[in-house]
């Protein structure tokens, strides 16, 4: 298991022991051999379908690397390619969505920046003499204010805002501003005003100055290319800045504002009051604040879910449990879109890493973009044949299973069609859900639940069998299975039931837009529309008669009833959609190719829990090691166990302080137990050590003490115990309590 010696290209190969004590060392340099293989690999991937045994041989390492290794290498290349294609698409979609969401706020900010800049210019441009002096323009009138925007991020965490502010910066740059971004780290007490000025110059001018002077910035700004553009400085986490440093900075800027027209944009995570809590009044007087609001993380999340999973920018999908995990993580723990996106990226990686057939997706997307056509079974069949696993399979089977392939390709193609229908239904439901404030993320999770799907179906069948023409008098809505299921879909439908007719019309109109490409659903919608229109026609006719003959009151009751009928029909329409088309991906054959379901694995890779896991490693080590010697006696401590495990188990018996003496004694008792058992003829585990030491008691004692010391060190390395303090030299302190 020892690391192999550094490659020959390394100038001074060091032995392992020496390397252990080097602060750092080069283990090996990139092998040229690897490079050759890379180029061969790239060549191959282009001609993947023409992969011949000769070509694969030539790409092998000369010294006995197998075809298997070559296959593995090829597979990795394809995995990377597929991941790159799929993830680049998802990522760019997410970026676009977020940009669209922020577009209006960004526009407002840009306009505001321009207005502020004009306002500063109105005060009067400095003359050349003034501008080249190394001190600020001083007016006798009141000092100028620094225009500052407070962008309320409505986030708990600043991590999402980093992305937003980067986008804002790009946006403003493209609209002719000089933009720079500093973080709260620059406004720390340690850096002081000089540090943040230095950072400011580095960001604006691009090289470091020592000592930093704002005069440098002023003269830079005087240069031809830079002049006449506003300078925008963004600080995305106002609350984390050091108040006094920022105050000094603002006071300085306010003096220089004529020469250096800096406009500030602050990201504010808490409330509008934040500046008042941070700045003293004389600094507040120098600021001229305006306020802007960003969209909430929940809105952003819904937009992302819509574009990535519902509108399917790629064929990559996640299963119900994975969606549930991501949703709970977002809602209950993290609350940031960044983590959600990252989790999605990890899911995507794991999918390509674990599911061999998933590689098809990369090709599907590329082709889809090129031709912009639907995926016919023929194209699917083509992709499948290109898969290396499939190629080798075919070679061995002599293409006997053409029929199987064809039916599989048809299955895949159908899967994508079913998905399209599913998406349309979810979008229709979401449109209706907007009236009841249902979040798309919640709806999405519910729509993925394949456990619910058959029950919906069976409820409906039962109903069909029982009584199809159930009287509509009692609660007619109850006949629809979606009303009985509970959950978000039910909530949405309930709202539809009570929707006033105007809004219902709007809803149906929006459904029309959503379904126009999907003929199956569109036809049903047309029927719904015509029947409602027909009723409307009748009722309006009746109404005019009613009004003329019997007066208004009865007419309005009728009207009510009619509109209720329309609501019922809308519900019937939704019910039909849900029953027939809301088929979660996990219930469809071959879904594994497109759908990542392994929630346990995702959780492990995504969220490490060292605090708990390391303790479990120690206390239940035999679950990992599967040794025959330690797991037979339940919880009792055996001498054959790992020393650190024995010690940590013993430590559990103590309070927060462990008396070293007692700890040592109990450790010794357990370890020495071996000796007594050794007397018996029975063969005990771990006999080697005792063989050499039985002769000398001293040596044995030394060894036990050394093992105890080593155990303490190991627990110290893991941070589970803290060393004795001067006040309590006889005790170590426990750090972790309870797993």
């Amino acid at each position: 298991m020892a690391p192999s010696s550094p490659s020959e290209s390394c100038p001074q190969p060091l032995s392992t022991a020496e390397n252990d004590l080097q602060p750092f060392f080069v283990l090996h340099k990139a092998s040229h051999h690897g490079k050759d293989r890379t180029s061969a690999g790239q060549g191959k991937s282009r001609k993947r379908n023409k992969l011949s045994p000769i070509l694969s041989q030539s790409a092998n390492k000369p010294e006995g690397s197998s075809t298997e290794e070559c296959d593995r290498y090829m597979r990795r290349k394809m995995q990377i390619e597929a991941f790159d294609i799929v993830w680049t698409k998802i990522e760019s979609t997410i970026k676009d969505v977020l940009r669209d969401l922020n577009a209006s706020v960004f526009n407002n900010i840009q306009q505001w920046v321009m207005e502020c800049f004009d306002a500063i210019r109105l005060v009067g441009e400095p003359s050349i003499a003034e501008a080249t002096r190394s001190f600020p323009v001083l007016n006798n009138t009141t000092p100028l204010k620094v225009y500052s925007a407070l962008v309320i991020t409505r986030n708990i965490e600043f991590v999402d805002d980093i992305m937003t502010f980067e986008e804002l910066g790009l946006f403003l740059k493209s609209h002719g501003c000089h933009v720079t971004k500093l973080s709260s780290m620059e406004f720390s007490l340690k850096n002081g005003i000089a540090g943040c000025l230095k950072a400011l110059l580095r960001e604006f001018i691009g090289s470091s100055f020592d000592p930093a002077d704002i005069q440098t910035l002023a003269s830079w700004y005087r240069e031809q290319d830079n002049y006449n553009k506003p300078l925008v400085l963004m600080i995305n986490d106002l609350e984390r800045c050091c108040g006094s440093v920022l105050t000094d900075f603002i006071l300085m800027l306010s003096e220089w504002v004529v020469k250096v027209p800096i406009i500030l944009i602050f990201g504010v995570a808490t409330t509008v009051d934040a500046p008042r809590n941070i700045f003293p009044s004389h600094a507040l007087e120098c600021l001229c604040p305006s306020m802007f609001m960003l969209v909430t993380p929940a809105e952003r999340m819904d937009a992302i879910v819509e574009s990535v999973f519902i509108k399917h920018c790629t064929t990559f999908n996640i299963g119900h449990k994975v969606a549930q995990l991501l949703r709970n993580y977002f809602i209950n723990q993290d609350g940031t879109v960044t983590s959600f996106i990252r989790a999605l990226k990890v899911a995507c990686l794991l999918h390509f890493s674990m599911e061999p057939l998933s590689l098809i997706q990369g090709r599907v997307i590329v082709e889809d973009q090129l031709r912009n056509s639907g995926l016919s079974p023929e194209t699917m069949l083509k992709y499948m044949e290109e898969l290396p696993s499939h190629a080798s399979y075919n070679l061995s089977r002599n293409k006997m299973d053409d029929q199987t392939n064809k039916s599989m390709a048809e299955g895949l193609s159908e899967l994508l069609t079913v998905q399209k229908l599913w998406s349309t239904v979810v979008l229709c439901l979401y449109e209706a859900g907007k009236y009841s404030g249902v979040r798309l993320l919640d709806l999405f999770c519910e729509a993925l639940n394949h456990v619910l799907y058959p029950s919906r179906d069976s409820v409906c069948k039962k109903r069909d069998e029982k009584d199809h023409d159930l009287s509509l008098t009692n609660d007619p809505c109850q006949q629809y299975s979606i009303m009985q299921s509970g959950g978000y879909i039910c909530q949405i439908v309930r709202k539809v039931r009570d929707l006033p007719s105007g809004k219902l019309d709007q809803l149906i109109e929006s459904w029309e837009k959503l379904t126009v490409d999907i003929s199956e659903i569109y036809e049903k919608l047309k029927i719904l529309q015509s029947s409602i229109r027909c009723k409307d026609g009748k009722s309006s006719l009746r109404n005019s008669k009613d009004i003329s003959k019997r007066g208004v009151s009865k007419g309005s009751i009728n009207n009510d009833k009619d509109s209720r009928m329309s609501n019922l029909q809308a519900i019937a329409f939704l019910d039909d959609l849900v029953r027939n088309y809301l088929r979660p991906i996990e219930g469809i054959p071959f879904h594994e190719i497109f759908c990542f379901k392994n929630v346990e694995k995702l959780q492990l890779v995504l969220i490490g829990d060292p605090r708990r896991t390391i303790q479990v490693d120690l206390l239940e080590f035999h679950n990992m090691l599967h040794c025959s010697c330690c797991n037979k006696s339940g919880k009792a401590l055996l001498p054959s166990m790992h020393d650190s495990s024995i010690m940590y188990s013993l430590a559990q018996e103590h309070g927060d302080l462990i008396n070293l003496h007692d700890w040592f004694q109990s450790f010794r008792t357990i370890v020495q137990h071996t000796n007594k058992r050794k007397q018996k003829p029975k063969h005990t585990p771990q006999p080697k050590k005792r063989k050499d030491t039985t002769g000398s008691e001293d040596q044995n004692e030394a060894s036990i003490q050394a093992r105890f010391c080593r155990g303490v060190i190991e627990l110290q390395v893991t941070g589970l115990v803290r060393m004795p303090s001067k006040r309590r030299p006889d005790f170590v302190q426990r750090i972790a309590f309870g797993i």
């Binding site: 390391i614 060190i713 309870g738």
Partner: protein, 362 residues
Amino acid sequence: MNNIENWEEEEEEDEEEDLEFSRNYFLAKEVQSSVKKSKRKITDIDVVDEQELREAALHIQPKHENEIAKLMDSYTAMYPEWLLSLSCGFALLMYGFGSKKALIEDFASKTLTEYSVVVINGYLQTINLKQVLITLAELLCDQVKAKRKVSGRQLSSQSIEDLLTFLYEVEVEDKDCFVCVVIHNIDGPGLRDSDTQQYLARLASCTHIRMVASIDHVNAPLFWDKNMAHTQFNWCWYHVPTFAPYKVEGMFYPLILAHGSASQSVKTASIVLQSLTPNAQSVFKVLAEYQISHPDEGMPISDLYSVCRERFLVSSQVTLNSHLTEFKDHELVKTKRHSDGQDCLHIPLTTEALQKVLLEIS
């Protein structure tokens, strides 16, 4: 020196009081904790000779060797997955009980042959991050054969900030080209401060740098905020307990039963003293005799000087000071400030131990 110690101790006490409340809360939740506070002293343990202890510590028989080897071997099946994660832009974070040094280096030398690999031993006390960055920049330059190749001298004259910018911005045509940085114990003493962690996070976010790191401390994730953990490092967590002994990682921790650092043992003290001049030994004897007769107070330097002068052991304050420096360097003598403001000398040994030392050197 003394003041600093006092201050540290005070801080420690404050912190302990702060922690006591929360600790009691968690303790109360534990079923087993029938808090029996023992009064036994560590000195009651009949510790074997320190030399012997150190010798024994070097030769501890490993347990479960076969099972550990099997476990390590089982992780090789994960190498392709780890490699894919790295290629797709993620970093690997290995955790779990046991030294992961051998495992990670095995992974690097078997699987990452196409890429240059730099190993940082985070368990060491000091690590010069700038040197690491220079090496990385050089490697990347070699690999890219960049046209605007920056020479080694130029690189070394740049600041950490510039080096990071260089690494961040360097353009490489081949997307799958990167230098892998292996960090054993990214939570180690040499890398623990927040500045270094920030630099490492920025390093990890460079396009052509990939990181494989290990942590051992249960609280290591507290180093990173969300931006660092999720965006910059972009960790994929892998639980890979190895149960291998922390041989090098634990090298710099004191053996708790060898009172090495806290107070000198008789043997080491006498070894040091025997290597000194007879005059120096005699000065030490004066101090030791004073301490035996006045066990609770230190000896004022002026008193020591006058006694030594009387006995013709030193001729001037300068000579005495040079002896004292020697003692202090070997931790044979410590200075304490007396309540009246005088500096007093004190040998960090018990009276019994002192007597033994005196016997040995006479």
